[in-house]
Amino acid sequence: MAETKPETVDVMDITVEFTGGLEMLFSNKRKHNISLPSKDASGAPANINFLVEYLCKHVMKDPRKDLFVLDDTVRPGILVLINEADWELEGEGEYAVQKGDNIIFVSTLHGG
């Protein structure tokens, strides 16, 4: 609305959901409203990789980070869904997050 000085951080509101047991790593809360900085430290538009990093740093209180990220990306066995589509259809980690996006992290189940 007003002019933004260089040092203020522009944010965008998105929703992030965790399911398949992942919610246990995020305070047992499935749905989170996140105000994500629009740009990363280098000034590039926030993408999914940046979101994952942001969630680890600012949202995840559980110390077992390796149950969410491994080798700087989400661990095998977690599907990332961008607005109800597999992130592989959208460019994976490079997908530039848009205002209002709904990002779901699903841990796959194996029980039967």
């Binding site: 047991g21 149950l67 066995g77 109800e84 597999d86 189940l109 194996h110 029980g111 039967g112």
Partner: protein, 304 residues
């Protein structure tokens, strides 16, 4: 002589009448179901309802694979195993339940766990496979064998209050044909770390949650089988075009409870279904595929 004009017996007409009057099934669909052979891997919380509803619908042959026996702790969700059958091999208990639901169904039981050594011979005779297993090693094994043998696969899983379902390798084109449906490895090229795996034994599960997913598996199988004639599929390239591949996610305590997620198509570098496939019929018997090692030791301390 009359038999030539009536492809089903009077009792079968009465039994299946309520689904045969639907245009989605009809006499033709009923005959396709009767000619079909469906293999169910795992006769637990998913396999019980899946096999019960496939038997009810009149699938001609059901193959049942499971090496476990019925336990007390199964009964709350594995509704085909009566209390009096605790201690009995699950495949025999399930076959009894299926016979009671529909004596027209022929059951073949495989009283052992699926392995790389026995998967090819076990799958060979079947038109479609339903994965009702409970661990990642079996899920990769089942999917790999389905791709190599050209069988569509209906896979599901459940834990606690949640369930997931996918129809994979459908249409079941040969490896390298990009018009085929994605396989389990396309969606999950790398297995999850062993310490992230939770079984229903460890994490618990609500009976109706896993029941729901099993019933959905039966439904998806019926949709595939009534579209496709298992006998004539080679001749006509049988497999009709389908909806794009998707993942159905269920969460009992969320709103909405169900979500449908669009999945990717076949992965260009998939180890199983791409032109670069390294998983072949030979690799199962040669011992080059160690699914247990690939997925890491299971039943370790686990948390998620």
């Amino acid at each position: 002589k009359q038999k030539k004009h009536w492809p089903l017996s009077q009792e079968e007409y009465r039994r299946y009448g309520r689904q045969m009057i639907m245009r989605e099934v009809g006499l033709e669909g009923q005959l396709k179901l009767k000619r079909s052979r469906v293999l169910i891997v795992g006769l637990g919380g998913l396999g019980c309802p899946a096999s019960a509803y496939l038997a009810g619908a009149g699938v001609g042959t059901l193959g049942l694979v499971d090496g476990d026996v019925v336990e007390d702790s199964n009964l709350h969700r594995q509704i085909l195993h009566g209390t009096e059958r605790v201690g009995m091999p699950k495949v025999l208990s399930a076959a009894e339940g299926i016979k009671s639901i529909n004596p027209w169904v022929s059951c073949r039981t495989y009283e052992s766990h699926l392995s790389a050594e026995n998967v090819m011979e076990t799958f060979l005779d079947y038109d479609l496979v339903i994965d009702c297993s409970d661990n990642p090693a079996t899920r990769y094994l089942v999917s790999d064998a389905c791709v190599v043998l050209g069988k569509p696969l209906v896979t599901a899983s459940a834990l606690r209050t949640e369930g997931q379902l996918m129809v994979l390798n459908y249409p079941p084109r040969p490896p390298g044909d990009t018009t085929g449906g994605p396989c389990y490895r396309c969606v999950f090229p790398r297995p999850p770390p062993a310490d992230s795996i939770v079984t229903c034994g460890d994490g618990g599960v609500l009976g109706p949650v896993v029941g729901l997913m099993g019933v959905l598996q039966a439904l998806e199988a019926i949709k595939v089988l009534t579209k496709t004639d298992p006998i004539s599929k080679e001749a006509a390239d049988g497999w009709a075009p389908t909806e794009p591949p998707s993942l159905t996610i269920f969460s009992a305590y969320s709103a909405p409870q169900f979500r449908s997620i669009r999945l990717r198509s076949r992965r260009a570098k998939c180890a199983t279904c791409s032109v670069q496939a390294t998983v072949t019929a030979e690799s199962f018997t040669s011992g080059s595929l160690d699914y247990i090692q690939f997925c890491g030791a299971i039943h370790s301390v686990n948390l998620l």
